[in-house]
Amino acid sequence: MYGRKATELVKEFASSEPGQLSTFNNDVFAQVLEECNGHLLHLEPLMMNIQENENKLRDKRSEEEMGMSEDERGNSEAEKMLIQSAIKSDQFGALIHHLSLLRNKRCLMAYVYNRAEVIRNLGWMVDSVLPEEIEEKLSGTEKEYFKKHANTLQSYMAEVDLHLTVDMVPPKDPYIKVRVLDDIGEVVLSDQVANLARHAIMFLRRTDAEQYITQGQMEELTS
């Protein structure tokens, strides 16, 4: 059945968790493209046939206008019916191929478009470099797309001089409760001098704690 592969592709996207990507399915993608070429190969001879038959029909008509006997007229009527029916069959086949092409196109476009949307959102969630395990799921063009999108975002943020990707949800409290995971020692923070010993639990300014957390030296405690 036509369009199966393309639907498979869309289904695959639909079944992945929202906001997450699965590996770009090069195999099926290429197969669908191949199917499209196949449709085109089928479509062309059909269109030629239609053209030819229509020409024949026109010839017949002009012959008729020239005048002919009753007998000939009957014959040519029958022939015309045959040709018309052949045209209709060809049109039918051509239409099916045409619709299948449109369908395949829609599926491919939807696949690429929806993935691109996820990738754009990633640009807001991670900084300009993708983690490896996500990057290997992208196709070449998608990688480039992400890079360009991230660059655009960066240059915009530089322009307005504001780091937009930080804190998509406004923090309720400037302080957070953290547990220190490593012996860091005495540190001067923005509002206090703290002794960050291992296993200590303390309230720190979020901005102070962030750098330690990203380095894995602290973890946030949520109540």
């Binding site: 059945m1 036509y2 369009g3 639907t7 869309v10 289904k11 996207f13 639909a14 089928h42 001879p45 059909l46 046939n49 029916s85 052949a86 209709k88 069959s89 060809d90 039918f92 086949g93 051509a94 239409l95 099916i96 191929h97 619709l99 299948s100 369908r103 829609r106 599926c107 476009m109 939807a110 478009y113 929806n114 969630m125 991670v126 983690p131 930080v166 804190d167 998509m168 949800v169 406004p170 923090p171 309720k172 409290d173 957070i176 409760k177 979020r206 704690a209 962030e210 957390i213 990203t214 894995g216 973890e219 946030e220 949520t222 109540s223």
Partner: protein
């Protein structure tokens, strides 16, 4: 027409409709690849996906039968009439409402619209109640009855209940800043 890129819309149009070819079609090895003639004869019965059916039907190349779940005297209608909330629509057609809305204007069956509405109204109430009350253990079993759209409503209901409960209890005092949650998610 719905959004061109809408995944659900695309999948809904993949549902099969029983159809009969009214005319020969050339150059189409559609259904049986072992067939060398590469031609579909008039009168062939096939199930075609909806995206193919719409255009072909409008041009009168094929005739269609309404899928059994929308049919006027089908079992589904009787069941919906009896107790809509517990009919397993998912196995019949996961895009029940979407497909119904698409097919009703096509075949001009005036009874499909009200039928969908009745089914949805009753089932929607049940979905909301179930979203409140079902425990985690029973929920998967109930979810297998729902169409895709209903399953989304169910999830939406559940998450809003969770949000309401959180609000009523006061919720945690601190919101996790996304920057902080990130590091641990990746490892």
């Amino acid at each position: 027409m719905a959004n061109y890129y809408d995944i659900d819309d695309i999948l809904a149009e993949e549902e099969l409709i029983p159809s009969v070819f009214q005319h020969d079609a050339n150059g189409v090895g559609l259904f049986d690849s072992s067939d060398d003639t590469n031609k579909v004869e008039a009168g062939s019965r096939v199930e075609l996906p909806f995206w193919l059916v719409r255009e072909l039907y409008l041009r009168q190349f094929i005739s269609i039968r309404v899928p059994s779940c929308f049919d006027r005297d089908s079992k589904t209608r009787e069941e919906i009439g009896a107790d809509a909330a517990h009919v397993d629509l998912r196995s019949r057609c996961p895009y029940f409402y979407e497909l119904g809305c698409k097919i009703a204007p096509l075949v001009g069956d005036k009874t499909i619209g009200p039928f969908l509405l009745v089914a949805f109204r009753i089932r929607y109430r049940e979905v909301l109640i179930k979203a409140h009350t079902l425990t985690l253990a029973v929920a998967p079993k109930y979810l297998t009855l729902l169409t895709n759209e209903e399953a989304k409503l169910y999830e939406a209901g559940q998450s809003s209940i969770a949000a309401f409960k959180k609000w009523r209890m006061g919720g945690p005092r601190f919101q996790i800043a996304p920057v902080l949650g990130r590091k641990r998610k990746l490892t």
